[in-house]
């Protein structure tokens, strides 16, 4: 690989988040050296060597979807070339997605705070590889510090492709990739119907690469140290490390860098273990699913293993739920939040998610009602796969996982009404609601499923 240096290579499992933060450009350069200049493709019309290296590395997207990063880069590079010589002068576009909207995730913010230049290297290297002439770093906060970082790189001549820091308004779906494109195109930060895929037509109708900031930081490391080095961590089927945000009732909540394939039990131990008797862990965030503890401790942190167990990897999120919490109450509140995050573009989502939140609120906090569970299950089928983005699918997946994992709680609530644990303060994190909106699910009222039909 180009740019392999005599400097010590980053350690096996603390690659992205080294013990000493590399805040300034000088600190970053002394740890990693300058980003290697792009080598031209070995044959005319061929793919850039960095794209081949990322493909060989097996890196997958760290934003939640887990799509192979190299394949995405190749698609954008090829779409840019297909557009012809005139278009290739105009170039493709790169978007670095650091607009972390998942309430239980904090890893992108922390990465941008602790190693901003690794992300910025990744943006420039990926941009050169896919033939981009402009790049955007999209974030919810900290944009002033990041603009300073960009300026210091411009002065050092490191931003060979111009990078602009863009602030994304709050909102769960505002950081969805087509919503970022909408924001940059001036049509509003709302998800769009695909096709066209961003890799075909995105910002200013150009082929657009959207990668999560952690993915880009990994690309910056692969460019320097090579795909074989990257594969030294993690199993062959899921190579590399990942940043996982651990919260809930845990002794030391925070962001942990793990080798993929580490078990949930090992990570929870590293985080000091549960601070209360635990009952389950939510894996994958609010588009994920539940894994009952202690059995969950044996599950490996890879997309494949988590899917097989009924959860997801998502953006790398674990939340520990204590025995003293009512899972139905927790998920009723989260569903209410997610329903409020609908961009209200797609009928099944803007009608179905509030109906689902209402039904679940009634299951959790209301008096027992006969066909409520049946209606709740019906709603899961009615919203799944029927939106432009995955908000309805993700919400339905989370609720479905709750209904199967906590059947005993469901039976209790269905026959006797709210359990005593429903009154415990919430464990699953939620952002404070905007001032004008209603508070989350007041006990025992809100839902009137009859009226929704």
């Amino acid at each position: 690989m180009p740019g392999r240096r005599v400097r010590a290579m980053p350690s096996r499992a603390a690659r992205l988040m080294p013990e000493t933060p590399q805040l300034t450009l000088a600190e970053h350069l002394s740890a990693h050296g300058p980003p290697p200049f792009a080598e031209p493709a070995s044959e005319p019309g061929g793919v850039a060597p960095l794209i081949a290296a990322v493909e060989q590395s097996g890196l997958t997207g760290r934003g939640g979807a887990g799509f192979p990063a190299g394949r995405k880069m190749r698609a954008v590079a090829e779409a840019g070339r297909r557009a012809g010589p005139l278009h290739s002068q105009v170039g493709t576009v790169v978007i670095a997605n650091g607009a972390e909207s998942e309430p239980a995730s904090g890893k992108d913010r922390l990465l941008l705070r602790r190693a901003p230049h690794l992300v910025l290297d990744g943006i420039v290297l990926a941009a050169e590889a896919v033939g981009a002439t402009s790049a955007y770093l999209c974030v919810h906060d900290d944009s002033a510090a990041l603009r300073d970082a960009v300026t210091s790189r411009e002065r050092a001549g490191l931003n060979r492709v111009p990078v602009q820091v863009v602030e994304v308004p709050a909102g769960y779906v505002a950081s969805q990739e087509t919503a970022l494109i909408g924001l940059l195109n001036g049509t509003g930060p709302r998800p769009a119907f695909v096709p066209p895929r961003p890799s075909e037509r995105g910002v200013r109708r150009r082929p657009t690469l959207v990668q999560n900031v952690e993915t880009l930081a990994n690309i910056a490391l692969i460019a320097r140290y090579g795909p074989a080095w990257f594969r030294e961590a993690g199993p062959p089927s899921a190579p590399g490390t990942a940043l996982i945000t651990v919260s809930g009732t845990i002794a030391r909540p925070g962001v942990y860098e793990i080798e993929l394939g580490t078990t949930i039990g090992t990570l929870l131990d590293r985080a000091g273990g549960s601070s209360e008797p635990p009952q389950a862990v939510l894996a994958g965030g609010y588009f994920g699913g539940w894994l009952p503890l202690p059995a969950a401790g044996q599950v490996h942190l890879t997309e494949q293993a988590l899917r097989a167990a009924g959860a997801a990897f998502g953006p790398g999120v674990l939340v520990v739920l204590p025995e003293s919490s009512c899972p139905l109450a927790e998920i009723a509140r989260v569903t209410e939040y997610l329903a409020g995050q609908s961009a209200r573009q797609c009928g099944p989502c803007s009608n179905g998610l509030p109906a689902l939140a209402g039904a679940l609120g009634h299951v959790a906090f209301g008096r027992p009602a006969g066909d409520l569970l049946h209606w709740t299950r019906q709603l899961l089928g009615l919203v799944s796969g029927r939106g432009a983005c995955h908000l309805p699918d993700g919400t339905a997946g989370l609720v479905g996982s709750t209904l199967t994992t906590f059947e005993a709680d469901l039976r209790y609530h269905a026959s006797r009404g709210p359990c005593g644990r429903a009154a415990r303060p919430p464990v699953l994190p939620l952002p404070p609601p905007p001032a004008r909106s209603s508070p989350p699910v007041p006990p025992g009222s809100r839902a009137r499923p009859e009226a929704l039909r």
Binding site: P191, P348, L382, G387
Partner: protein, 77 residues
């Protein structure tokens, strides 16, 4: 059949809704109740799978009649 012929006819085609464009006018359900039903809010629910050959002309008519051009007849890649 002006263009295509057999190969074109045999390619499986499926109905798809652009959920952002769809406003639930319900024209498609009127024209093609065999494959499209209304959900509780009046938005179309499409029967899964390819459109049976004998319904293709009706499906095409439903696509052409959608006031927001939200119904699509696509050939999966």
């Amino acid at each position: 059949m002006s263009r295509g012929g057999a190969a074109r006819r045999e390619r499986p085609r499926t109905l798809k809704v652009n959920p952002v464009a769809c406003q639930g006018h319900g024209v498609c359900m009127e024209l093609l109740p065999e494959l499209i039903a209304a959900d509780p809010w009046g938005y179309p629910l499409i029967a899964p799978g390819p459109v049976p050959a004998k319904l293709l002309p009706l499906a095409q008519r439903a696509v052409n009649s959608c006031p927001t051009l939200a119904l699509l007849l696509t050939s999966p890649e």
